[in-house]
């Protein structure tokens, strides 16, 4: 179904660390100043490989949607270069546009149009004849569980259905690069998981995906590479697992059966009592959890439950963003 399947092994790095095969997205020194003077992007560089599943993270107002807007021709850039599969936006805009499918952050379909027409019209704008557009629309609406709603006006869909409609619309012309700006905002857990499965499948079929999200769990689950943007600058770009590896400490919250009158002390772990039946333990990477349990056992502490104090990625994210703000990077 997806004609754009790439063999990942082809993407061998060349000597200068660059990659031989053309980038799905290549942004150089992109800046954007809005008409009233807001500087939303201050020179960002971004490279996304073909076939990647890429997360663009950043706090509210960081410039994620602005960057996406420029890449998708919805905003004029102030300066810089953008290439999509090698097509420069300045010189080959139409070829570049044809490669991209966008599901934006805000709903932007005609609320009074029937669902299926939103897909077939969008396909039409990409030059796909109506009969084929109708076939593709059916397939996508079925995959995204919207087929029952095909004749309903879009305004009558629930929020989560509207999000899925935007994803379906973004895929109707079979783009090589799918850009999703907060695709799972306001989507319930069950649907979110089925959306994840769907996106993984699309990615496996060779479609490069870039998504922004505020759910770090989502980035951790789906994405291979990640960039963190803060105040219009890229402050971090790396692999997701590399980022996770940098987490030295994890804090666990442990509830105990007995009141913790006397805190045990265990070699290599820092234990803090936070309530009568609760303590927090910092665990560094060198020490495993089994050592902790052995120690607690020996001290006669019976563990009732154990959980992470905070999502580790969230902690790291806060660190990176705060650091970049603090030092004015």
């Amino acid at each position: 179904m997806w004609p754009f399947v790439f063999n990942l092994s082809l993407m061998t790095p060349s000597l200068n660390g660059d990659v031989l095969i053309v980038k799905a997205l290549h942004i150089e020194q992109l800046t954007k100043v809005y008409p009233k003077g807001v500087q939303a992007l201050s020179g960002i560089d971004l490279r996304v490989e073909q076939g990647d599943f890429f997360a663009l993270l950043g706090p509210n107002g960081a410039g994620k949607s602005t960057a996406i807007g420029v890449v998708c021709s919805l905003l004029n850039k102030t300066s810089g270069k953008v290439r999509i599969f090698g097509h420069d936006l300045d010189t080959e805009r139409e070829a570049a546009k044809a490669c991209i499918g966008l599901a934006p952050q805000e709903f932007n379909f005609n609320m009074f149009d029937p669902v299926v027409e939103i897909l077939t019209n969008q396909a039409g704008y990409y030059g796909i004849p109506h009969a084929e557009a109708a076939e593709r629309a059916e397939k996508l609406l079925r995959q995204l569980h919207l087929w029952d709603k095909r004749r309903v006006q879009a305004r009558l869909l629930s929020g989560g259905m509207k999000r899925r409609l935007m994803i379906a619309r973004a895929l109707v012309h079979h783009p090589r690069l799918l850009i999703l700006d907060e695709p799972t905002a306001g989507v319930d857990i069950e649907i979110r998981h089925s959306m994840w499965a769907f996106l993984r499948e699309i990615n496996q079929q060779g479609v490069t995906i870039i998504l922004t999200t505020h759910y770090l769990e989502e980035a951790e689950n789906l994405c291979r590479n990640i960039a963190i943007i803060s105040q219009g600058r890229i402050v971090e770009q790396t692999q997701v697992h590399e980022l996770l590896r940098r987490l030295h400490q994890e804090v666990f919250v442990i509830d105990t059966a007995q009141a913790l009158d006397k805190m045990p002390s265990i070699e290599g772990f820092k234990l803090d009592k936070v309530a009568d039946h609760r303590m927090e333990v910092s665990v560094s990477r060198e020490h495993g959890l089994s050592q902790l349990f052995a120690g607690l056992n020996a001290a006669g502490v019976e563990v009732v439950s154990l959980r992470n104090k905070q999502n580790r990625l969230e902690q790291l994210f806060m660190d990176v963003v705060n650091h970049s703000r603090g030092t004015g990077v």
Binding site: E94, K97, N108, T120, Y125, Y126, G127
Partner: protein, 258 residues
């Protein structure tokens, strides 16, 4: 080559969508002009017109037919494009077109064709109504049709410009109320400008609608206050000017891209 095909598909998509839009709300788009025309014919044609007598050698009711048809064409072409394009900005679905690989001229041509489609349909409805009340023989089908379509194109373009600059629903009714309606009423729909004192005749000549109404009247009745060549030159000149301006606005992204 394949690009040409895709442009054609995109153009068709826009036009079909535009036509579907006004057909779906035909109670607001096709019916009202029919009703107002009936009222005009009853009041100006039958009641008052009977006391006016002839104008330019025609019964008054016959004399006003061309102007009334063209008035409906003008306001409906304009209204269609201004409402539709402003709606696409307001609800942001203009972005569906902006992300797609279709050139701006296809977008413009699509919306203008939608406006022309509505203008032509309303024109036909009004003409059918007019046939009940009047007795006219078409003088020149070629001139009639040409003026009909060109006027519709011209005011579709004007509606498009209005929509580009509009930032609220008020903005899309200001121009029709304060500019378009006065221009059409003073454009010789209801009278021959030879009735006016010389000074006002000259002022009237600055009104582009006058040229269209007169050219159209020539097409239907064979009489005009204005030379036909001049009328066509002015209509086509305005179309060229407004098209260029629309393209300039679209290329710069005025009102649609920050």
């Amino acid at each position: 080559m394949t690009f040409k095909m895709t442009y054609w598909v995109a153009f068709r998509t826009i036009v079909m969508k535009e036509m579907l839009r006004f057909m779906r709300i035909s109670a607001q788009t096709l019916l009202p002009p029919a009703i107002t025309t009936v009222l005009y014919f009853i009041i100006f044609g039958e009641l008052i017109g009977a006391r006016i007598g002839d104008m330019a050698g025609f019964r008054y009711v016959d004399f006003i037919v061309p102007g009334l048809i063209l008035m409906a064409v003008i306001s409906n072409s304009y209204a269609n494009v201004v409402a539709s394009f402003y709606g696409s900005k307001f609800q942001h679905y203009v972005e569906e077109m902006l992300v797609a690989p279709l050139p701006n001229w296809v977008i413009l041509l699509g919306f203008v064709s939608g406006g022309v489609a509505r203008g032509v349909m309303v024109g036909i409805v009004v003409t059918l109504v007019a046939l009940f009340f009047s007795d006219i023989q078409v003088h020149s089908y070629a001139v009639t049709l040409a003026v009909f379509v060109l006027t519709s194109i011209l005011f579709s373009l004007a509606g498009f410009i209005n929509a580009v600059y509009a930032n609220s629903f008020d903005d899309i009714s200001v121009i029709p109320t304060f500019v378009l309606t006065p221009l059409t009423y003073l454009g010789g729909v209801f009278y021959s400008i030879t009735l006016l004192p010389e000074f006002w005749q000259n002022v009237s000549l600055a009104n582009p609608v006058l040229y269209m109404v007169n050219a159209f009247r020539y097409g239907l009745l064979g009489v005009s206050d204005i030379s036909l060549t001049l009328a066509f030159a002015i209509i086509i000149g305005f179309i060229a000017l407004l098209s260029a301006y629309c393209m300039h606005l679209l290329n710069r992204g005025v009102g649609i891209k920050s």
